[in-house]
Symmetry: C2
Subunit: 162 residues, 2 copies
Amino acid sequence: MAVAPDTAADLVYQIFDLQRAVRCIAAAGVRGQDTGVALQGVLRFVGEGESRATKLAERLGVSAPVLSRHIADLEEQGLVVRRQDPEDGRAQLVALTPAGKDKLRQIEEQRTAILQDYLRDWSEADAGNTAKTLHKLTESLKKSARATAAGIPSTPEEQKHG
Amino acid sequence: MAVAPDTAADLVYQIFDLQRAVRCIAAAGVRGQDTGVALQGVLRFVGEGESRATKLAERLGVSAPVLSRHIADLEEQGLVVRRQDPEDGRAQLVALTPAGKDKLRQIEEQRTAILQDYLRDWSEADAGNTAKTLHKLTESLKKSARATAAGIPSTPEEQKHG
DNA sequence: TATTGTTATACTCTATAACTATA
DNA sequence: TATAGTTATAGAGTATAACAATA
């Protein structure tokens, strides 16, 4: 049953090693650009369709003040527009401008090209399987982290104390 | 040959999604602690054996000033010690103190326990394969990033121009 | 009262530039 | 000259607290 401690420990280190490698590559890619990786992340989710700020913050995993600032920055760059939610006077709806769509497309094309180049000796199947593996890992982490944050006991011991 | 654009684009997003999930979990784990994730990373590599600061910075993928500050912080916390390299008057050798070893072990145990818990419905084989997959991806990225940084042309077009 | 969003402030992590000391 | 390391400074990204406006 479950995962052995040594395997879990190895997996932790593999995750952090990947983080480090990605950080270096991403940092090199945005050097001298106005739109840093955080703003790029916001653009991505706004690009999936007009959305509330609250919803965006949740999907991005950042706090509301952080998102508020990012939206303000993107608006200043002319990449997004805000309008009031017709169904809720407190809320805003954020959407990409044409310039924002261009920017997002450009960012995606650049990233895709770099990764294609970096993985040029990989097979299509390897890349596809890796994407699936990452997705599965991320979903497990998000699900468990949500449950933990909500105070749901996870181990049998904790459940007894509950 | 190689990886299709759509697959590469998907993989990029899977990588960033994992980063986000891990950031949230890691941030929650170090809340209120002296030893943040960056210092924990330094501890890990120092824990593999007494090492030069330069070597550590390279392995961590950070600049020399950043590592210098981290080492100073860890020394202040009594977790590492520095001594001059007997073979090079300019260089230092950094090693864990007993307290540093304790701290590293405690960090690893805590992380391992959390990941084991989060992946409690995973099989040992799935976890092992995921670790291997991450390792392969990281190695490909690091290798290509190194080559790019060194100015080695990567695409046939660029090679022709060289 | 609870929720949406903003502003003010501070912390973590990182980088570049300028420097000292040694090779 | 080149390398190892430090200090000073700046920037990106994030969080908490306090607030205003609306539900």
